[in-house]
Symmetry: C2
Subunit: 418 residues, 2 copies
């Protein structure tokens, strides 16, 4: 089936490159991009045109780190640092997902809010609960979200209401993996919560599973200085935090590590050499007073950087807002380097929130030919524009103002989902 | 006329103190607060009750620094530092306000967006245009906004399309002052743009006007290091920036100075001793890479700190969002002080965005008896709440999520304006 979307087309094929085509045509065959053209090619004349005239068709977002069961506490507990926040708010909130009906209700709402804000691909943590994790995957699937969801493993240092024993954790993980539909848009990813939450035995079992089944892994790395100290005391044989994952085969190509705020040169080299993906979570890192990650440095070193909302350590769900916070964080690094380190431009921030994450899911650069369409359409015609703003300015306003209602359509894997 | 609002009542009478009354009653006489009570007093029984059951009645916001004519460029040009941004975007945008019809249309929309987001009191810059400034005051008045608006003075270092000569600037200022309605909720405030924009002759004339007519003054101070150098070269006789205002009688009690990012101990002492009000603009200071103001230090020193959106250097209009950014900025100061300086709690941020600004307009502490009501009502009942959140948590969520649509009612000077 051939379809054409007509409007202003904006995408970021490379870091810092923003391609803008005014009044262009996006050609689709069975939901896959067949080309972008300034004028309608002859062999496409007569095909269905979906008219987004004077609206902006741009790439949708990838949220590479979020905690789905923390959604009910979004925007709360922000006066507490990481480890206290975990114990006071987070573990209690996650424990409620033992109730599958509750999970269904919350996850349906979360999926809707993600799609409404143009997040079409995710790398998400569930809770430790097997059934609720399957519910989360179902609700994401139904809403049209693609990507990965992980049942959390945690067999130590949890709370009375939120902890597994090692045997249950391994058994439930295998049950869960076996229960995941093979052809779904949402696939499983192994998810040891973080080193302090997992015994060596559990880590070893997860490493074995990753290898046997060719699974990807997601976890947390070097978010907070106290956490780093804690890991050091738990793994005195590991000079650095990342090695507590690596020794169990959990620090591989396409492992997603959230935060990496305090990763020094040696750890960053390991991240790069192992082709590990950094999920930078700017809002969370400031809210929980963790620090400000050296993103420009990572990019200069060739590290694969993506963005995450990290709800609910992050209080901002729309990735447009997360991109703006990533830019702000990079400006803070600039200020504190005495104005020597470059900040992220809007085009760069947008690349990190779109293409860089999309690569994880096998997509090409920007709106690449052959890729299933992941896009949002911005309708900003309600703003006064007597002086004809450039599409570049309107794009930037969409990112900074981050208005959910301005997103009038969302496409995910070629399907219209909003 | 007696009226009663019934709901959860939240206010911040002192820095760091958040008073919460569940299922309380706000007693109003002719729009003025006559008391807050946990149970309805006998002599109030039978009066009209406006039922906000299970909604949160809380203080509305004061935006102590915003540039009304920059509203059309909100969220744009964020890749540029202050002085370039002024020349590329700002001056061009402000110049359009020579057109009164354009001003009417833009200012009507701005006023609506402010009220919709619960900003009921402002200290706002207009452009240099006399007529459009009166239009801004009218539109704010109509929308129910209270506070101060200033016709900008700038007779040097503007742009070809945006600059006055000295004589016109003084003459138009007097004409404007004489044209302002005496009994309006919006009153005039003298507004030299900033030292580099005003000749000594103009500054002297404004100082004279301030004294003769007992007018307040607003301007910018120590926002950016290049700007500070520039002021030094323009006023070699002034050891510090603030003295370039003080020598013309423009650094007085109730002068509002935006930013003060780089004010050192001596300048901060002058701010304190002169009872000058700091309008902290956290989002703008990061967007324009100016720096991160030492707000905790200022508070410890007893300086009067308030908050401003500084649109459009700031890209966030809702003061809920500005409060969250102020908290984030304070956490950045904490990170960069090696976790020694305290961050702003949510209660403290809220105080700065409400009571501290309200004092400027003569209000008391929090919901003080005798004050005309300035309040918003948060309806957050659409969120799932199967586990009965505390009012404190719901209040915090309202600040962090900053959803315009969650504000179901706004009261300004005792009148319901949304």
């Amino acid at each position: 089936m051939k379809q054409i979307l007509h409007g202003h087309i904006v995408h970021a094929p490379k870091l810092g490159a923003l391609e803008i085509l005014e009044n262009g045509y996006m050609l689709l065959e069975n939901g896959k991009i067949a080309g972008i053209a300034g004028a309608l090619p002859d062999d496409w004349k007569g095909c269905e045109i979906i008219d987004y005239s004077d609206r902006i068709i741009m790439q949708s977002f990838c949220d590479m780190h979020l905690h789905a069961p923390q959604y009910p506490m979004l925007g709360m507990g922000m006066d507490l640092p990481l480890l206290e926040w975990l114990n006071t708010y987070t573990f209690k909130t996650e424990a409620r997902f033992a109730d599958v009906d509750y999970a269904r209700e919350i996850y349906r709402r979360l999926a809707k809010e993600l799609i409404d804000n143009g997040t079409t691909r995710v790398c998400a943590f569930s809770s430790l609960h097997l059934e609720s994790t399957l519910v989360l995957m179902e609700e994401f699937e139904k809403a049209g979200i693609c990507g990965f969801v992980g049942k959390v493993n945690m067999d130590r240092n949890g709370s009375p209401e939120l902890q597994e024993n090692t045997e249950d954790s391994i058994r439930d993980t295998i049950k869960w993996l076996d229960a995941c539909p093979k052809d779904a848009h949402i696939q499983p990813i192994l998810t040891p919560r973080f080193t302090p939450s997992c015994t060596n035995e559990l880590m070893a079992a997860l490493g074995k599973l990753a290898k046997e089944r060719g699974l990807y892994v997601q976890s947390h790395l070097s978010e907070n200085t106290s956490e780093i100290e804690w890991v050091r005391s738990l793994h005195p044989d590991c000079p650095q935090y990342w090695e507590s994952y690596d020794k169990y085969g959990l620090f591989n190509s396409h492992t997603v590590m959230a935060h990496c705020v305090h990763s020094d040169e040696r750890e960053r080299k390991a991240i790069k050499d192992h082709n590990v993906v950094v999920a930078h979570c700017p809002d969370s890192n400031i809210n929980l007073i963790s620090g400000v990650a050296p993103i420009r440095q990572m990019l200069n070193e060739g590290i694969w950087v993506t963005l995450g909302s990290d709800i609910a350590g992050g209080a901002i769900l729309p990735m447009m807002g997360v991109i703006a916070e990533a830019i702000r964080s990079s400006k803070i690094r600039r200020i504190h380097s005495n104005w020597t380190v470059d900040f992220l431009t809007v085009a760069e921030g947008y690349y990190l929130g779109t293409t860089s994450g999309a690569h994880y899911f096998g997509a090409g650069d920007g709106f690449a030919n052959g890729d299933p369409l992941h896009a949002i359409v911005i309708d900003d015609r309600h703003y006064v524009d007597t002086h004809r703003l450039s599409i570049r300015d309107r794009f930037e306003r969409a990112i900074y103002r981050a208005k959910t209602d301005d997103i009038c359509a969302v496409y995910s894997a070629g399907r219209k989902v909003k």
